[in-house]
């Protein structure tokens, strides 16, 4: 399989088991391929510092995994890992949440709200690119609409959206790459 992902928004579309999420994990080096090379701006990702790469290429997981504490604690978490303090309000707004959420306990929010906290947490690192792993797979229609609305407002950010929903891919991305059984289907 060979593919390149340009700037802008790209959907990786395919049925479950087609290797979409695995491919996504290779892009920020949560995993390494058994064979072949993943390049970021032309450089083999294995030559980059994995922690730096993951800050530049943020990931929003399929299911929310908040750290214990408030929404603000969650948004500050990533930058604090490298000793930086950030104002949590702009990323929270960007993710489509009202700033009144900042002091609330993240683990007590609905899954849809938590998923936007995950988006805000990734945005707080000011990444060059976002990886979105079926971010609405576990959400109901209203929560899906809210997350999609937040994603459509990320105008200048490149992202790769993994989804099994062709309509969502059309709604949210400029181009779609279809995967079937670990292969690119053109």
């Amino acid at each position: 399989m060979s593919l390149s992902i340009p700037y802008g928004s790209t959907a990786l579309l395919g049925p479950s088991g087609s290797g979409k999420s695995t491919l996504l994990r290779l892009l920020n080096r949560l995993a390494d391929p058994d064979a072949g090379v993943v390049r970021f701006h032309g450089t083999d990702v294995r030559e980059l510092d994995p922690l730096d790469l993951r800050r530049r290429v943020g990931l929003v997981p399929q299911l929310p995994a908040p750290v214990p504490g408030s929404v603000a604690d969650n948004v500050r978490f990533g930058p604090r890992l490298e000793g930086r303090e950030v104002d949590p309000e702009p990323p929270v707004r960007l993710a489509g949440l009202d700033p009144s959420f900042l002091d609330r306990d993240a683990s007590r929010l609905s899954v849809g709200e938590q998923q936007r906290v995950m988006l805000a947490r990734a945005l707080a690192l000011e990444p060059e690119m976002l990886l979105l792993d079926e971010p609405t797979a576990s959400l109901d229609a209203d929560a899906t609409a809210a997350v999609e609305h937040a994603l459509r407002n990320l105008h200048d950010l490149s992202y790769v959206l993994v989804t099994h929903n062709a309509e969502q891919a059309d709604r949210l991305t400029e181009r779609t790459i279809r995967l079937e059984q670990g292969r690119v289907h053109r």
Binding site: N28, L51, R54, R55, G58, L59, A65, G78, A122
Partner: protein, 260 residues
Amino acid sequence: MIAAGTVSITLGEVAASLALIAVAIAVSFWRRAELEQDIAVAVIRSFLQLTAVGYVIQAIFDSDSLWLVAALLAGMVGFGAWTARGRAKGVPDATGPIVLALAVAAAVTLGLVIALGIFKAEPRYLVPVGGMVIGNSMTAVAVALNRLADEMHDGRRQIEAMLALGATSFQAARAIVARSLRSGMIPLVDSTKTTGIVFFPGTMVGMLIAGAEPVDAVRLQLVLLWVLLGAVALSGLIATSLGYRGFFTDSHQLREQPPP
């Protein structure tokens, strides 16, 4: 009959205490706890192992050789590591960390109690204290690593989410490592808190039966309990701080793991 002032116990007196084993087996049989066979194995193993180690200790006391003491303690570390390894199967590459944890805990605590002048560097003190240190450290390490494996397995999603935010392996595992260390230390901390009220620890019981003054029995027990706390903290720290690394690659990736 065992009487104060004597420490000589006949095999007949030992055999008489089997009456309580009969009670244990009867209870198990009656309530179908299905432990009869295990109890029998436990009785036979405890008899053979303690008898054998009794002769070994006698020989070491007779020789008065610190080299033999070191060899015996090294054997205990090896056997303790093997036992703890069996209970911490879910931790990859755990043998090295466990051996190091037990060996360092034994060496540092024995070195300290000798340096502080609490015990003389003689086999009579080094063998029993070393055995207690290694035994308690083994239990703590096994409990801590067992917990570590469970939490690393259950917390996979959370850990990977932290790694994705640029956390190092250590940053992602820090809370789990802390809870694992805690779970390894808590049993001894709790039993130290309640000692003398809810139960009488073995050393004190042994000294009282052997005819020592209660004040001396209490003081020796305190020394041993406090030494053990230090040893357990040290071994738990080493085992968890090194043990978590087996779950990660050098590139701060979570390794694929079979369920623990």
